[in-house]
C-alpha cells in the first residue's frame, strides 16, 4: 500500500540506517499495555533528508528513541551502516522534542558540551564552539544563559551544539514546533543550508505536512497509534529549495493533496481515539 510519486532521489545511495520489524510496547502507569510502534521497517539512505509525519501520539518520538538507542524495542533490529547496533550510537546527533539545553550553562558551554564530554581541551573546544556560534548567528550571546534567549535563539544553540559533535546522522524531533511561523521558516532554511553543506543524513519528525514536504527528499507517513508505516512519498521538488518560495512550486499542491488524503484518515482515526465532543442538549 506504499504509493510512490517519483523514484529518482537517494535510493541508489547506500542504506545508512535501517529499521527491521521494530515493535515497542509501554506499560502505562495504570497497568495497561500500550502498543506504541507496531512492526515498523524503514530504510534511510545516505545523505537523505527523510521526514516522518504522523498525528500526535502515533509513536514518532518512540521510533527516534529506538533508533538512537535510548530505549530498546520489544523486537526488531536497528542497523547503522549495515551493522546491528545496541545502545547509543555515536554516529547519531539527536535534537529532541523538548528543550534540552543545560539551563546552568552559558551558550558557549552548551555548544561545547559534546566536545567536553569527548575530552577535547578547553581551548580547542572553545575555538570550535565560537566558530559555530558565529555561524548560527549568535555572536554576542556567548555568555548568556538559555533563559535569557528567545525561543528561536535557543533552537540555534541546540543546533550548534549538535553540529559541534559532527554526527553522520542527525535526528530532529519536531525541532521548531513551538516557534512562530516566521522564525520557523528561517530556521528551516538554515537546516537546509546546513544539510547541503555537511551532507548529513537527516531524519526529521514533524506533524506539519507543509514542513515535511518543503524540507524532505522523502516523506514517510506513520499511521495513528499503533505506529506503522502507512505510505512513503518521494518529493520531486527541485533543490536547492527555499522554504518560503517552495510552496508556490507547480507540483507542491499536488503533492500536498496526495499526502493529505492519506494523512486525513489518520487524523480522523486519531480523533476517535481521543473521544468526541458530546452534543449539547
Amino acid at each position: 500500500m506504499t504509493s510512490i510519486i517519483n523514484l529518482q532521489s537517494k535510493s541508489e545511495n547506500k542504506i545508512k540506517l535501517a529499521l527491521k520489524n521494530i515493535t515497542v510496547t509501554f506499560s502505562s502507569s495504570n497497568g495497561h499495555q500500550v502498543l506504541a510502534v507496531n512492526d515498523v521497517s524503514l530504510d534511510v539512505y545516505e545523505q537523505e533528508f527523510i521526514a516522518l509525519i504522523g498525528t500526535s501520539g502515533c509513536g514518532k518520538s518512540t521510533l527516534l528513541n529506538v533508533m538512537a538507542g535510548l530505549i530498546t524495542a520489544d523486537s526488531g533490529q536497528v542497523l547503522i551502516d549495515g551493522v546491528e547496533t545496541v545502545g547509543i550510537n555515536p554516529k547519531i546527533g539527536y535534537m529532541s522534542q523538548l528543550d534540552s539545553l543545560l539551563p546552568w550553562a552559558t551558550v558557549m558551554d552548551n555548544v561545547a558540551l559534546g566536545l567536553e564530554l569527548r575530552g577535547i581541551s578547553k581551548k580547542e573546544r572553545r575555538a570550535m564552539a565560537r566558530e559555530l556560534i558565529v555561524r548560527m548567528g549568535l555572536t554576542g550571546f556567548e555568555y548568556s544563559y538559555p533563559h535569557e534567549l528567545s525561543g528561536g535563539m535557543k533552537k540555534r544553540v541546540t543546533i550548534a551544539r549538535v553540529l559541534a559533535i559532527d554526527p553522520e546522522i542527525l535526528f530532529m524531533d519536531e525541532p521548531f514546533g513551538p516557534l512562530d511561523a516566521f522564525t520557523k521558516e528561517i530556521l528551516q532554511d538554515d537546516i537546509l543550508k546546513i544539510w547541503h553543506e555537511t551532507k548529513k543524513t537527516i531524519v526529521y519528525v514533524t506533524h506539519d505536512l507543509s514542513e515535511a514536504i518543503s524540507l524532505a527528499d522523502r516523506v514517510v507517513l506513520i499511521s495513528s497509534r499503533p505506529g506503522k508505516v502507512k505510505a512513503e512519498y518521494n518529493i520531486p521538488l527541485p533543490r536547492p529549495r527555499n522554504v518560503m518560495d517552495i510552496k508556490f512550486d507547480a507540483n507542491y499542491v499536488d503533492i500536498e493533496k496526495t499526502i493529505w488524503l492519506q494523512l486525513k484518515e489518520e487524523v480522523i482515526k486519531g480523533k476517535e481515539g481521543i473521544g468526541h465532543v458530546s452534543k449539547i442538549s
Binding site: 529532541s96 523538548l98 534540552s100 546552568w104 533563559h147
Partner: protein, 259 residues
C-alpha cells in the same frame, strides 16, 4: 500616598533594623513607665549593658565561638554525609527502597532522645555536640537533595547520553548542577538546624557554649542574660542566613528570577 513618597527606596535590611529598633523602643518605654516587670522580662537597656559586659569580659567570643564551632563542624559533617547518601540512594533505587523506611523512622524520633547516648559515647566535650548537630543537619540534606535528584530533567540526561556522556559525566554535568538549588535550600535550613543541634547538645550536658550559658542563667533566674544570649543567637543566625542568600544569588545566576 503621594508618588514622591513611594519612590523613596529604603533597603530591606535597613527597614528590618528600623522595625527592631522601634520594638525595642516600645519595650524600653514600657519598662520605664513601670508597665513591664524587668525581673520577668528584662529591658533593652539591661540587655544592651549585659552584652557589652560579656563582650569586654571575652565571654561572647569564647562561648559564641564554641557554639559556632560545634555548629560549623555539624553542618559540614551532616551536610557532606547527607548529600553523599542522597546521591547513593538516587543512583541505587534498590538500596533506597530497603533503607529509606528506616531513615524516615529515625528522623521521626526527637533528636533530644539521643542526648544521653551521645554524651555517653562522645563525652561532655564538643564532640557530642558536633554529632548532635550533624545528625539534625544530615536529614535535611538527605531528604532535600534526594528530592532534587528525583526531579532531574530526564531530557537533559538523555541529551548528555546521546553526546556520549558516561555515568560520571551525567552526574557532574546534569545531576549535580540541577541539585544545587536544593543544596542551597538545605544549606539555609541546615544552618539554623546546626546551631539548634549545638545548643540542644549543650543543654544536655556541657560546661561552655551559648546553650550552656542560657541553661546556666535560667537556673539562676538571670533573665537578662537569657535574653542577651537569645539576641546574640538571632543576630548570629540572621547574618549567616544573609551570607547564604548572597551565595545563592551568585551561584544561581542561571535561573530566571521571580521578581
Amino acid at each position: 500616598m503621594s508618588a514622591k513618597f513611594r519612590n523613596i527606596r529604603i533597603p530591606a535590611l535597613i527597614q528590618t533594623v528600623l522595625l527592631v529598633m522601634a520594638l525595642f523602643l516600645i519595650w524600653e518605654l514600657a519598662t520605664r513607665a513601670g508597665k513591664v516587670d524587668t525581673f520577668f522580662f528584662s529591658s533593652p537597656n539591661l540587655i544592651g549593658n549585659d552584652i557589652v559586659k560579656m563582650w569586654t569580659s571575652g565571654d561572647i567570643s569564647k562561648h559564641v565561638g564554641i557554639t559556632f564551632k560545634e555548629a560549623f563542624y555539624g553542618l559540614i559533617y551532616g551536610g557532606v554525609f547527607g548529600t553523599l547518601c542522597a546521591f547513593i540512594f538516587g543512583m541505587n533505587k534498590k538500596l533506597h527502597n530497603i533503607l529509606f523506611p528506616i531513615i524516615v523512622g529515625m528522623n521521626g524520633l526527637p533528636k533530644l532522645a539521643l542526648g544521653p547516648l551521645l554524651i555517653f559515647w562522645f563525652g561532655i566535650g564538643i564532640e557530642s555536640k558536633i554529632v548532635m548537630s550533624a545528625v539534625m543537619v544530615f536529614f535535611i540534606f538527605l531528604f532535600n537533595i534526594y528530592a532534587g535528584y528525583c526531579n532531574v530533567d530526564v531530557t537533559l540526561i538523555n541529551a548528555v547520553r546521546m553526546m556520549g556522556g558516561n555515568q560520571w559525566q551525567i552526574i557532574r554535568k546534569v545531576i549535580w548542577p540541577s541539585c544545587i538549588p536544593w543544596f542551597l535550600v538545605s544549606l539555609r535550613t541546615g544552618l539554623g538546624m546546626s546551631i539548634m543541634g549545638a545548643i540542644v547538645g549543650e543543654y544536655i550536658g556541657a560546661n561552655k557554649g551559648l546553650g550552656w550559658m542560657i541553661q546556666n542563667a535560667g537556673g539562676t533566674y538571670n533573665i537578662t542574660r537569657v535574653i542577651s544570649c537569645i539576641v546574640l543567637l538571632i543576630i548570629l543566625m540572621a547574618s549567616l542566613d544573609y551570607f547564604v542568600k548572597f551565595l545563592e544569588k551568585k551561584i544561581l545566576r542561571w535561573r530566571p528570577t521571580v521578581d
